[in-house]
């Protein structure tokens, strides 16, 4: 029981971070019909912004983190939309997909070139202590990661549902033409979506790097998991991405503990295949019709 509880908590903590990246996937898809195949690298990069801040400029960790979040919003949000998505989108989805794949490679190789191919230590953000619950040793860091991720997603959900801007963003996602007729500044709403994605990627990166180390290739795994989580949960629902992320985090840990560490990587893929066959719209997604 204690073992199971520990595995569940660790799985949920990792899954919540995957969910942050997966939510970014779904937001961009809803706002601009763009599948960002560089999303994994978006999660990899902000950790290096923090390390540059602390290492090269000698900034305190929290200042470097805040600065990294701002830079992520500027680079991974605004610049990404202006320089990659806007010029490519009029040519269709496929050129944009290829452009994001190329962007991911560029980011990965650039980090390797300028910051070496080696993993870099990343300072822990929360106290490295444990407490006991029903005989299970629960890590404070796991609990904090879980709480921060869930708070961010909850805050985002509330922003989208309760604020005027959030509702305008939803209207834009559902039908941009009608939203524009109703006076919504569609371009601005889409830009907000990209900014939020940059913010989510930065939070995910900062939470996961103390355990995974900051490494140029981290995006390969994180991007794939986030993509699968978004599909499993439902590509058109934020809560779907949350469910997908948590589910994959827990399943990955359960598989490693009770099936085999060698086949843990296969578990999310098996889940993906089953979901696509049984419920293609995802666990909590809704069926969507599109004109082609």
């Amino acid at each position: 029981m204690a073992e199971f509880l520990q595995i569940m908590i660790s799985g949920l903590a990792a899954g919540a971070v995957y969910a942050l990246a997966a939510v970014g996937f779904t937001l961009l898809w809803q706002a601009s019909q763009a599948i960002n195949f560089a999303q994994g690298e978006f999660v990899m990069l902000p950790a290096f912004f923090v390390l540059i801040g602390t290492g090269y400029f000698g900034l305190p960790l929290w200042v470097a983190i805040l600065l990294a979040i701002v830079i992520s919003i500027l680079v991974l949000g605004i610049a990404f939309k202006k320089l990659v998505v806007e010029p490519m989108l009029p040519h269709g989805t496929l050129p944009l997909v290829i452009a994001t794949i190329a962007l991911g490679l560029l980011m990965k190789e650039s980090v390797k070139e300028f910051y070496s191919a080696q993993g870099q230590p990343f300072p822990p953000l929360f106290p490295q202590t444990v407490f006991e619950v029903f005989g299970a040793a629960i890590s404070v860091q796991d609990v904090c990661n879980l709480l921060v991720s869930l708070l961010v997603i909850l805050g985002l959900q509330m922003f989208l549902q309760r604020s005027r801007t959030g509702r305008s963003m939803q209207a834009t996602a559902q039908n941009p033409a009608v939203a524009e007729i109703l006076g919504v500044d569609v371009k601005k709403m889409v830009m907000y979506t990209f900014i939020i994605n940059g913010f989510l990627a930065a939070i995910a990166s900062i939470l996961i790097s103390p355990f995974y180390l900051a490494k140029f290739s981290n995006g390969e795994t994180l991007g794939l998991i986030a993509f699968i989580a978004a599909i499993v949960g439902g590509f058109n629902q934020i809560r779907g991405a949350l469910v997908g992320g948590l589910l994959i985090g827990v399943l990955d840990n359960l598989a490693a503990a009770y099936v085999s560490a060698q086949y843990r990587a296969a578990v999310p893929l098996i889940l993906l295949i089953v979901i696509i066959m049984v419920r293609p719209q995802g666990l909590v997604g809704t069926t969507e019709g599109r004109a082609v």
Binding site: Q6, A117, G119, Q128, F211, Y212, S217, A256, R264
Partner: protein
Amino acid sequence: MLKRYLVGLAMAVTIGVGGAQAQVKIANIAELSGAGAAAGTVWKDGVDLAVDEINASGGILGQHIELMEYDSQTDPQNSRAMVQKAIDDGAYVLLGTVYSSSTVVNMLVAQQNGYPQLTGSEAPAITQKGNPFIFRTAFGSQKGMPKIGAYLSFGLKASKVAIVWANTEYGKGGHDAFVDVTKEFNLEIAADLPTEQGQADFSADVVKIKNSGADAVFAFMTEEESARFLIEAEKQGLELPIAGDTVLGSQKVIDLAGAAAEGVMSHVGLSADAPVPTIQAMDKKFTERFGYRPDHNAIKGYIGAYAIKYVTEMVGEFDRQKFADTMHGLCLQAKEYPGLLLDICWDQNGEVSRESFLVQVTNGQQQIVQTLPAN
């Protein structure tokens, strides 16, 4: 006027040709990217340092070394292609690779072509395949296992041990050698956990160890995985003593894992903290040049490059077959051959015999607890 110009030109060309020194090509195939970059890049720095020193002191048999570098990308098939490319490019002798999974594949190409290869790999299988052209720069992991087994059994008084190991050629070799040792020392295996190359999440592995009833852990993974495992172990409050081989207590793992590496015990073949003047001098030069301290892989690379110089000069010519023949059964003393840092012997299989060290990580540094004799 034209005559004077032509004479001048002829003289310049003559001086140019005379000034250019003949060069011998040495290939270094290493993990410069991918999962093994932490090991391969420091190996490369060790090689670079040695090659520059050798060139500054006149090269090998009067020829400067032209170092050709190839990135295996930590991919066995790619490493095989890179070894072939190095041979096609006219290399004299090969250095690398570090990852055993790559070396077991690419050493066949070197063997078929008759190219001596000095590797940093430690999987036992590498020197058990009868390849007359493979030579280690550090001993195989099987040599350290009896020493770790003795430490766990007599030093820690452990009776049950959890094994967490990399499911790679390197990891399997170490795992199998350690399992043999557990029988010898009556150590019960409480948990046997293979992990994947590049694995990021070790939470399930640590939970299983905590609930296995083990009273010590033997960890046998590569640098980044070892660091991630130690970070997770600390995160979950795993209080069991953790012991391992060279990698676990290496400077790279200490740098990556930080406080999580504190107290870790390991049997280290090569350490920058070894109380040996030649190693301390190398440590100083390396740190000044690269801005970080050398770990065992850097020292292995350094020794590998110097071994090429010394053995070639013993042979007296650039002959690959004679080079390999000379190395078999060769013992060299660091007093006469300082670039080798420690006295070293290669047996008929290219396996190394040398002193080693028992190391504990204290205050972010390797502390040599004991110097162990060669076996």
